[in-house]
Symmetry: C2
Subunit: 116 residues, 2 copies
DNA sequence: ATATTATGTCGCATTTTTACGACATAAAAA
DNA sequence: TTTTTATGTCGTAAAAATGCGACATAATAT
């Protein structure tokens, strides 16, 4: 409580952080890649392809689903999960803007205005 | 027992997840944006611009520094933090590849091969 | 020399994440 | 019907993240 902190975080910062958090575990990165590599939506045997217990994988799936990055459709006894490519495209844009601003830092990286 | 199974994933998946984790908090997103917006590297008054205690901000700075996304150079009594734009460029590429593969999912989004 | 200031370290409490087994449920097969 | 199978729910334990105050340190300023 050294200083007055008036500034809150913007909606954009929170949104980017939320998505980043969703991708902040290799299992969830792997799940997205797995779904991207299938011509047909695969079901819970996603778990069989990952070095984790089925319930743990299910938990990760739920986290991705909570952000609507993936979707699940029940098909009889199995469930078909697939990517929400539309949302992913938006998210990709957000990350791009973020990185573009970052790499375009006027300080220019390896220490032009300071010693870093 | 809860053992981190992150080692069972590919190096690429782990690297992407690591960086995603670094950006998984709005404060750290804000820090990167803040550093990107400065023509000169700013020091610890980063804390004054964020709605968090100084030590908490310092902690976030350390996390970004641990991944070498930012760097700090001591200048007398103050410290000059700035972005590692070179690394950020690499990271940007990794995220781009990831998203490109994801949005290019053959299932094509809104349910072409399944009901999602 | 003493005080001030910017930065960094430590410990602690709270919350969230991760991981998994035991159990429940509902569709399909026997 | 009974059994099998794929999926989902719940509780729990360990770990990590978050946030902050008390204290330490080192460079200036007085």
């Amino acid at each position: 409580m050294t200083v007055a902190k008036t500034t809150a975080f913007t909606a954009e910062q929170q949104q980017l952080a939320r998505v980043a958090k969703a991708l902040a575990h290799p299992a969830r990165v792997a799940i997205v890649q797995l779904l991207a590599s299938k011509t047909t939506c695969i079901s819970g045997d996603i778990a069989a392809e990952l070095p984790l217990a089925r319930t743990t994988v299910f938990q990760h799936l739920q986290e991705l689903k909570a952000l609507d990055l993936i979707r699940g459709e029940i098909d009889g006894l199995t469930v078909c999960y697939c990517l929400n490519t539309e949302l992913l495209r938006q998210v990709q844009q957000q990350f791009m803007s973020f990185f573009e601003t970052a790499v375009a830092c006027p300080a220019g990286g390896a220490g032009e205005s300071c010693g870093c």
